[in-house]
Amino acid sequence: MRNEGNETCLIDQYLLRQLSDEDTQAFEVSLLLNAVLAQKVETQRMAHRLIRLFGRKEELCRIQGIYRQLLDEPAFARQLKTIFS
């Protein structure tokens, strides 16, 4: 894999807590000494957050779709109407 890819992979392993205690410690020392690496870690952390945000957005759309689909079922819609009438 490309060098950049190796670094990205290492950052991922750090963020996903897949490194051993010893490797985590060594990586955290590198972060203190290397501002460029530290910035990459922070932007990659943010990337993970945005991917999760995207995933949740899509999943909630799917759930909303299921709700709309069920509202088209007379028995389901009737049950809800009875509960909130």
């Binding site: 890819g5 990459k40 999760r52 995207f54 949740r56 999943e59 299921i66 809800l80």
Partner: protein, 166 residues
């Protein structure tokens, strides 16, 4: 109902009226019941995908228990009750940060939706690289992995370029 129906639809159909009845008895409305139930279902689905769903009761009982915690959290205004186990709010408390993140996500989706979908398949849906390679048309696991890291680097660069993140 069809024989190939998504089991989540069945779970929804079976569980939501029970939860809605509970919310109604406690003075809530349909919209509130739906919002809490959807949050609980999201937690259920995320745990299932991550392989962290360890059920000690039926899926319905788990879902109703989680939805109830979400509902009590809503009633409480989030002041004393903790979020349900395994739930980490994806959105920040600060509305300005939330808005910035939404704008950044929209921009990423406009400039590289395929990359975001690939990254979602791995990091959010927890699918294997072999599955991802097949879905996205890569020759194998290795080339899909290389592309995954290229996408991650691209997203990182976009984040770095924005003034909202420094």
């Amino acid at each position: 109902m069809t024989t190939q129906e998504d089991p989540i639809i069945d779970l929804y159909r079976d569980s939501f009226p029970t939860f809605a009845r509970m919310v109604q008895r406690m003075g809530g409305n349909l919209e509130q019941a739906k919002d809490c139930f959807h949050d609980a279902l999201l937690i259920y689905l995320e745990k299932e995908k991550a392989g962290n769903l360890h059920l000690h009761a039926s899926p319905k009982a788990y879902l109703l228990g989680t939805a109830k915690i979400c509902w009590l959290h809503t009633l409480d205004g989030g002041t004393t009750l903790p979020f349900p186990e395994g739930f980490e709010p994806a959105e920040p408390e600060d509305p300005a940060t939330e808005e910035n993140e939404k704008n950044l996500l929209d921009s990423l989706l406009r400039s590289g939706k395929k990359c975001m979908e690939l990254l979602k398949a791995f990091y959010y849906d927890h699918r294997s690289m072999l599955d991802i390679a097949a879905q996205f048309g890569f020759s194998g696991r290795r080339s899909a992995t290389v592309q995954k890291y290229k996408c991650l680097e691209k997203v990182r660069e976009e984040i770095k370029k924005t003034s909202t993140y420094a």
